[in-house]
Symmetry: C2
Subunit: 352 residues, 2 copies
């Protein structure tokens, strides 16, 4: 139900994804009548791998966390996350209110032992034509070094699972490459990451700067949620600005339009390579269940990418990978309230 366009985008995306991926089964959560009508429009009301689960309410962008969490107990978001908790779904995908999605996910699913705070990890395009994974992008605006350390470990497990890289590189976002650069937070974090690197348990590249995100210097860029959110939104804003300038100028006058038509092959390639839809689908990392967040403005093509990422994460057993990584590193979780199971119990479970 979420995002700028609601079921008009999410349902066509789900149908298209189910058709492109024969192993996928999709559960559509929302008011039954609304979803049934949308499916009928697409002639997919009898699709063998699509089913509807009713939810009578929905979380809006304006809802406070209090409202989303305490009052709307039958929201599509809550019902979908409950399905993950109950093992009826392997992952949840939503284009709705990010804060509410994180709060409900955390409340319902709890965090993985060793994780104090879940983080949001998204992909950005880079010059090497691959993705740069960046986290945290806004879940945690005030961080301590141990949080960034956990983000590095979780990001590393994510890239291993999603890209099949056994030892993905981790960069620490800073104002310079040298060790002496940066604020206290990154200097302290660097010590933790370097210690892991020396033990061979993390492939820590060192400090990276803002432009390294788009150079693709490392697979993962770690930062606090304030810096990550501002950087991501600034990049999105610059992208829209550049796109606006290109469109305006190439449509200004018949000669420019003719040139654009003749070079349409190049323009199409440019549009493909820079299309943010290809990088849609942020992961809420550190929860005992898979939750993926689509950009609210995503179209059906973009939303399919978010479903694709959730599907890949489930298939590659992301939760086990993160749990195992965290158990190795953080035998004593600091945030007892958020995760009642100890790391030891977790190890026992896995080895049982």
């Amino acid at each position: 139900m979420g995002g700028d366009h609601g079921p008009a985008v999410t349902i066509p995306a789900a149908v298209a994804f189910a058709d492109s991926e024969p192993e996928a089964e999709l559960v559509l959560v929302g008011p039954e009548a609304v979803l049934a009508a949308e499916l009928k429009k697409l002639k997919a009301d009898n699709h063998p791998r699509l089913r509807v689960v009713n939810a009578t309410e929905m979380v809006t962008m304006e809802d406070t966390l209090e409202v989303a969490l305490r009052r709307k107990r039958d929201s599509s978001m809550r019902v979908a996350i409950n399905l993950v908790k109950e093992g009826q779904a392997d992952a949840c995908v939503s284009a709705g209110n990010t804060g509410a999605l994180m709060a409900i996910s955390r409340y319902v699913l709890k965090t993985i032992p060793g994780v104090d705070r879940p983080a949001i990890c998204s992909l950005l395009p880079n010059q090497k034509d691959g993705p740069t994974y960046m986290l945290d992008l806004g879940a945690n605006v005030d961080c301590e070094p141990q949080h960034l350390h956990q983000f590095a470990l979780m990001g590393s497990a994510l890239v291993s699972a999603m890209e099949g890289k056994p030892r993905p590189t981790v960069g620490l976002l800073n104002v310079g490459e040298e060790d002496i650069k940066g604020n206290d937070l990154v200097k302290q974090t660097a010590l933790l990451l370097r210690a892991d690197h020396e033990k061979g348990t993390l492939n820590f590249y060192g400090n990276v700067e803002g432009d390294d995100i788009f150079k693709g210097t490392t697979d993962i860029v770690v930062c606090d949620g304030f810096v990550g959110n501002v950087t991501l939104k600034a990049s999105e804003g610059l992208g829209r600005f550049v796109k606006g300038v290109l469109t305006t100028e190439l449509k200004s006058g018949p000669l420019n339009m003719l040139g654009a038509i003749i070079a349409r092959g190049a323009l199409k390639k440019i549009s493909q390579r820079l299309n943010p839809s290809r990088y849609n689908g942020g992961s809420l990392l550190g929860l005992r269940g898979l939750v993926f967040k689509s950009h609210g403005g995503a179209d059906a093509y973009g939303y399919q990418w978010a479903i694709r990422r959730a599907f890949d994460a489930a298939r590659n057993d992301l939760i086990s990978r993160i749990s195992s990584k965290m158990a190795d590193f953080m035998p004593q979780p600091d945030d007892a309230a958020a995760s009642q199971m100890t790391a030891t119990e977790n190890i026992e479970q896995k080895t049982a």
Copy 2:
């Protein structure tokens, strides 16, 4: 002598600027023989408004602050800043080592009363085809609310002087627009800025997000130097990435090249509108003298913009404007070491 290209860029830029601006007098600082040779090449060795001041050393990008500050006492940077201190120059422009430029400027010129820490303020292009002024961009990686407050006041004085806007708008960079969003630093800062707004002494817009920089929502965007530096470099990196994709694709094959030639009017306009050179010239704000920093990679066209900004700041009496703004707001400077004169003395000086 600074920047990636040294006198090969700075001298042609100085000559071109002097030619375009009949009121400008330029002092070129560096090894006399090197500069004389460069001037001769440009047939400007007898230019009536260009003179050379000798400096036997130069600060490199690799020099530590210790070396730049204590050992190279006859560096072109040090000599140029001394000229400002002695009143022989109205402003200094450099494309050299930013850290060294800030350290030497602060040591030689001292800070304006009421300013704890100088900041770096640069311009970014926005959708309204105007500049967004952003500070701090890296001079202060750990900030307290009073520092961001001072940045807002200085930025406001800068935009008044440079753009002739009596009440420029100030936005506080945050992860959301609502008051409840953000980390402790921005929440505390917002209280200070809002108090000023209610007194009518600052035009505080409220919180802005990363994309507002390029939307041009406010004239000034205030943030700590860590966030500012990362955001600026990420934007530069994304800009280079997009430019690379455009260039590669439009040169791939004869049809695309033909289209690009036909639409060359549009491509030229695009290149102009997005050219970072037009926004070159960051200001080191809060010092008792004007110092401007050019991007190290600037070409002669870009370097001329940095000279232009220094010239405009001098002509519009930026130092007095900042001093007056700070004196109104901060009668007791916190950083006694950096500014030995009290705000009262400063007011006496101005009214004397």
